[in-house]
C-alpha cells in the first residue's frame, strides 16, 4: 500500500460489467454528493476522480473478489462487518445510492472499508461473535453496552469486528462453513487480539474451531452465557468466562411473592435446541413447585398459538417469559417483538428474570443485570487487550440482583407495593399530577396565592373603608343628634308649658271628681265622665312626651322608611305650636292634600323643618306680633318631587349671604352655632334632595327643600 495514497479503500461492487464506466460515475456522484471525508479527491484526477477510484479498486482486487462471493450469504450483516467508525455512515450512503438514477439498471452497491494504516501497532482487533444476531434481545443489549464501554475503557484504538451466527437459531450444524470461511478470509492477514462470544452457540462455535489458525492464539472471552453451559475444564488458560446464573426457582418465588394466589404459570420458551435445553433445565429446577403450581410449557406451540393461548388464561395465571428465539414452527423471532405482542394480548402478568425486558411489559423481580455483566466483561477485556494474557481461566459471574419492578405493571395488575420484597426498587413510576405539572401547579398556586393575597388586601381595605364610613356616618349621626337635642332644648320651655295644659286639666278634673264623689248623694255619672276626660288628657300628655323623646332619642343607624312627608310636617307643627304661641307668632300650616311618600328617616326630616322654623322664629324676634307669621307648607312639585317651604315675615337674609347660610359655622345670630342649616343641608342631600333659601318680596325669608318621591303619586 502506497503511503502517498489516501488512507482508504473504496471498493466498488457491480454485476453489470458493461456498464462499469457508468456505474463508476454514479458511485462517484454519490460519493461527492455525500461529501464524505473518507474520499480525498485529487483535483488533478479529472472531473470525477474516477481513475483514482479504479486505482483503489485494483489495489484491493483480491479481497474484492472474495468478498463478492461471500456477500450474498451474509448480506444482512455487511453493515455489521463495517468497522465501528464507518458503520454510522454506511446506511446514509446506501440509501443515497438507492435514490440515484442507477438503481433500476444495476444491482450495484458499494461498500466502504477504511483500513487504518497509521498507528497500526496500537490498534487492537476484537471480534465480537453473536449467537442469534446482532439485534437479538436480550443479548443485543449486553453487546451494545459492552461495545460502548470497551471503546471508552481501552485507551488505544480498537478495531471492532462483529459477526453473527445466525444459524444458531436453527439446528443445522452444516451452516457453520460459510461463516467460518468468511472469518478465515477476513482474519488471515489480520491478527485478532480478542474474541468475545456472546451467548452459548457463539462460544461453542469458537470452541469447535479453536484449532483454526485465526483463533488459535487469540484469547477468548465467553460472555452472556449461563454458567452451567460452560465446560471450564475444556478451555485454554488464556480464556475468560463472564457468565450469569439463572435461578428459575427465585423467579417463581418472586411470582408467588407478589401474586400469592397464582396457581398457573405459563412458561414461554422458543423451540430452538438451546431453548429446548433450557426447558428441560427449568422443568428440573421447578420440580419443587409442582405441588403448588401448574406449569404450562408452551415451547412446542407456534407463536401465533401461544399468543392465542395467553389471551384467555384462567384467573390466577401468570406468564413466565424466558427466551424466545425460534418458535415451534421454525420461525425466528428477533428483538422484543414476541414479548410486546404477548403483552398486548395476554390477560395475565408477565414475569422474566432479565433486566432488558424491564420497561417492556414485565412486572419485574430479581433480575439479571446486563450492565453488571458488561462491566465485568469490560474489566476483564481491558487487561487482555493490554497484553496481559491470563494464565488461568478466569471466571466471573453475575446473579440475580435486587428486585426491580415496573410501576405501570404493578398498577395494571393491582399489585400493592407492600407485597414487594424489602429493598425492592420500583421504576417507571408515572409522575403524579404534582411531578408532571409541578411548574404549572406552582405557577397556578402562586397566582392563586397572589390573587388571594390581593383579594385579602382588597377585603381588608374595603373593611377599613367601611369602618371609616361607618365611623364617619356615626359621627354625622351624632352631630345631627346634637343639633336635634339643641333644637329640643330651644323648644323645651314651650314644650314643658305645653305639657302643663293636660297636667293642669288632669288636676282640675281630679279635684272636680273628688268633689262630686264627696257630695251627698255622690254624683257618680259626672265622676265617670270626668275620669274619661282624665284619660284623654293623660293620652295627650303622653303624646307630647313622645314627640320630645323622638327628638332626643339617639340613633346609631338611619331608620330608612317610606312615609308621607305630611306626617313629618304635621309632627313638626305640633312641636312648634306652643313655641310660636309663646313668641306671639302666628303659625300657619298648609299641607298638601295628597300623600307625599318619600324615603328617609322621618325624625331627620322633622328635624330639618324644626331647624328652618326655629330660624324663622328667631328672624322675627322683636317684630310686631300682629304681623309675625311663620308659614309651613308642603306641596307636590311636578310628579316626582315633594317640596316643603318654611316662610317667615322676619328681617330676611341679606342677598349676598343667601348662598352662604348653609355653610357650616356660618351664623348671623349672636348665640348661633352655625350648624342648624348646615345639618339641614346634610340631611336633605343624604336623601337625594335639594335645599335653598330665598327672600320674599314682601319681606322675610323662605327656606325650601325638595325630596324625590318614593313612587309616583296618582293625582
Amino acid at each position: 500500500m502506497d503511503d502517498q495514497r489516501p488512507n482508504c479503500w473504496v471498493t466498488l461492487v457491480g454485476t453489470s460489467a458493461g456498464k462499469q464506466s457508468r456505474n463508476g460515475t454514479g458511485v462517484m456522484q454519490v460519493l461527492s454528493h455525500n461529501k464524505s471525508d473518507i474520499v480525498h479527491e485529487d483535483p488533478a484526477c479529472g472531473v470525477h476522480g474516477l481513475s483514482q477510484i479504479e486505482h483503489n479498486c485494483r489495489c484491493s482486487g483480491a479481497f474484492f473478489r472474495h468478498l463478492l462471493g461471500a456477500y450474498q450469504r451474509v448480506q444482512r450483516h455487511i453493515v455489521g462487518l463495517l468497522p465501528q467508525r464507518i458503520r454510522r455512515r454506511a446506511p446514509d450512503v446506501l440509501s443515497l445510492s438507492t435514490t440515484t438514477q442507477l438503481t433500476g439498471a444495476m444491482v450495484a452497491f458499494f461498500l466502504l472499508i477504511v483500513g487504518v494504516n497509521s498507528a497500526a501497532a496500537e490498534t487492537k482487533r476484537v471480534l465480537i461473535l453473536h449467537s442469534f444476531g446482532r439485534d437479538f434481545l436480550p443479548f443485543s443489549e449486553f453487546s451494545g453496552l459492552f461495545r460502548e464501554q470497551l471503546v471508552k475503557a481501552y485507551p488505544n484504538q480498537i478495531d471492532l469486528y462483529e459477526a453473527s451466527l445466525e444459524t444458531a437459531r436453527h439446528s443445522d450444524p452444516q451452516d457453520d462453513a460459510p461463516l467460518l470461511g468468511y472469518l478465515r478470509s477476513l482474519f488471515s492477514n489480520r491478527k485478532l487480539d480478542l474474541i468475545v462470544t456472546i451467548g452459548g452457540p457463539a462460544a461453542r462455535f469458537i470452541q469447535r474451531y479453536r484449532s483454526e489458525v485465526i483463533f488459535l492464539s487469540t484469547p477468548m472471552m465467553i460472555t452472556a452465557i449461563e454458567q452451567r453451559l460452560v465446560d471450564i475444564a475444556a478451555l485454554p488458560a488464556s480464556d475468560t468466562v463472564i457468565a450469569f446464573n439463572l435461578n428459575f426457582a427465585a423467579a417463581i418465588d418472586n411470582i408467588l411473592q407478589v401474586l400469592p394466589m397464582t396457581t398457573d404459570v405459563n412458561v414461554i420458551f422458543g423451540n430452538s435446541p438451546l431453548e429446548r435445553y433450557w426447558v428441560e433445565e427449568a422443568r428440573r429446577e421447578l420440580q419443587s413447585f409442582t405441588d403448588r403450581i401448574k406449569f404450562i410449557w408452551l415451547n412446542e406451540l407456534p407463536f401465533d398459538e401461544i399468543r392465542r393461548r395467553v389471551a384467555s388464561l384462567p384467573p390466577k395465571s401468570a406468564i413466565f417469559y424466558v427466551l424466545f428465539a425460534v418458535d415451534a414452527a421454525g420461525v425466528p423471532h428477533a428483538g422484543d417483538r414476541p414479548l410486546q405482542e404477548l403483552r398486548v394480548h395476554a390477560n395475565a402478568p408477565i414475569f422474566t428474570f432479565i433486566d432488558t425486558y424491564l420497561g417492556r411489559g414485565i412486572v419485574g423481580g430479581p433480575l439479571l443485570s446486563h450492565a453488571s455483566l458488561s462491566r465485568l466483561a469490560v474489566e476483564a477485556a481491558v487487561p487482555v487487550l493490554g497484553g496481559k494474557t491470563p494464565t488461568t481461566v478466569s471466571v466471573a459471574s453475575v446473579g440475580m440482583e435486587t428486585p426491580v419492578y415496573d410501576w405501570r405493571e404493578l398498577q395494571r395488575w393491582n399489585i400493592e407495593e407492600s407485597r414487594l420484597p424489602a429493598g425492592s426498587i420500583v421504576q417507571f413510576r408515572e409522575p403524579g399530577l404534582w411531578e408532571r405539572y409541578r411548574l404549572q401547579i406552582i405557577a397556578v398556586a402562586v397566582a392563586l396565592l397572589i390573587e388571594a393575597a390581593f383579594s385579602a388586601w382588597l377585603l381588608a381595605e374595603r373593611h377599613r373603608r367601611r369602618r371609616a364610613e361607618l365611623e364617619s356616618r356615626g359621627r354625622l349621626l351624632e352631630t345631627i343628634h346634637l343639633n336635634r337635642t339643641a333644637a329640643a332644648g330651644a323648644l323645651s320651655a314651650s314644650i314643658a308649658h305645653e305639657l302643663n295644659q293636660p297636667l293642669g286639666a288632669i288636676q282640675n278634673y281630679a279635684d272636680a271628681a273628688e268633689q262630686y264623689l264627696k257630695a251627698d248623694p255622690p254624683n257618680l255619672d259626672r265622676a265617670l265622665t270626668i275620669l274619661d276626660n282624665i284619660r284623654r288628657d293623660d293620652q295627650r300628655a303622653a303624646e307630647i312626651i313622645m314627640h320630645l323623646r323622638g327628638l332626643l332619642k339617639k340613633r346609631s343607624e338611619i331608620d330608612l322608611q317610606e312615609f308621607d312627608l305630611n306626617l313629618a310636617v304635621g309632627d313638626a307643627i305640633h312641636i312648634l305650636e306652643p313655641e310660636a304661641l309663646k313668641r306671639g307668632v302666628s303659625l300657619i300650616a298648609s299641607q298638601a292634600k295628597v300623600a307625599l311618600p318619600v324615603r328617609a328617616d322621618q325624625i331627620h326630616l322633622q328635624q330639618v323643618i324644626l331647624n328652618l322654623a326655629l330660624n324663622g322664629l328667631d328672624a322675627m324676634q322683636g317684630c310686631d306680633p300682629s304681623t309675625a307669621e311663620l308659614t309651613i307648607q308642603s306641596a307636590m312639585i311636578g310628579k316626582a318631587q315633594a317640596e316643603v317651604s318654611v316662610t317667615d315675615s322676619g328681617v330676611g337674609v341679606p342677598s349676598n349671604l343667601l348662598s352662604k347660610v348653609f355653610e357650616t359655622f356660618f351664623t348671623t345670630k349672636q348665640h348661633g352655632t352655625g350648624l342648624g342649616l348646615s345639618i339641614a343641608r346634610t340631611i336633605i342631600e343624604t336623601y337625594g334632595g335639594k335645599i335653598w333659601a330665598e327672600n320674599r318680596e314682601g319681606g322675610g325669608a323662605a327656606f325650601r327643600f325638595t325630596l324625590p318621591l318614593a313612587k309616583r303619586v296618582a293625582t
Partner: protein
Amino acid sequence: MKRDQPIIHVVDDDPSFRASTGELLTAFRYRVALYESAAQLLEKPPTSEDGCILLDLQMKGLNGLQLQDELLARQIKLPIVFVTAYGDIPASVQAIKAGAEDFLTKPVPKERLFVAIGRALERSKQVREQDDRHALLRALVSQLTPREYEIFDMLVHGKLNKEIAHALGTAERTIKFHRQHVMQKCQAKSLPQLVLMAERLGML
C-alpha cells in the same frame, strides 16, 4: 242657682284646660261661663253682675293682655285672674299694672284658685256696690232742676247763700228756699254730707 250668684268667666283657648276648669268650678257650685277666645267674650260682654274673669295669657288671636286693655276701655270692671301656662315676669308685671287681680300658673292647685277667685269676687262686689252708690247719687242729683243744680254746684264749692244770691241776682231768701229743696232731693242732712256726695260724683 241663685240669680245673684257671681259668674266666673273662663277664657282659655286650650280646650281641655278650659273644660276642666269649668268642671271644677261647677263641682264647687260656681256659675261658670266658658269662652274659647277673647273675641268670643267680647262678642257678648258680661253684664255688671258680680263675677270675675279667669283669663289665659297666651291665646291665638287677641291674647290675655290685649283683652284686659279692651275690657278696661269698655269699662267692664270684672276683676281678672290670669291663669297661664307660660307665665313670665314681664307679662305678669304688665298684667298686674293693668289691674289684674292675680297671676296664676298652670297647673293651679284648687285652693289657690279658689282663694284668688274669692278675692276677685270680693273685689267685684265692692266695685259693684261702689257703682251702685254712684248710681244712687247720680239718680238723686238728676232730680235737681237746672237752677237747683247751679246752687248745688256753688254750695259744694263753699259759696255762702249771700254770694250765690249775688251771683244769680236773686234774693238770699230765694236761695235758701232752693237750698232746702236741694238738701231734700239729695237726701242730705247737712252741708258736709252734700259736699261728700259731690266729691264722690267727681264734681270737685
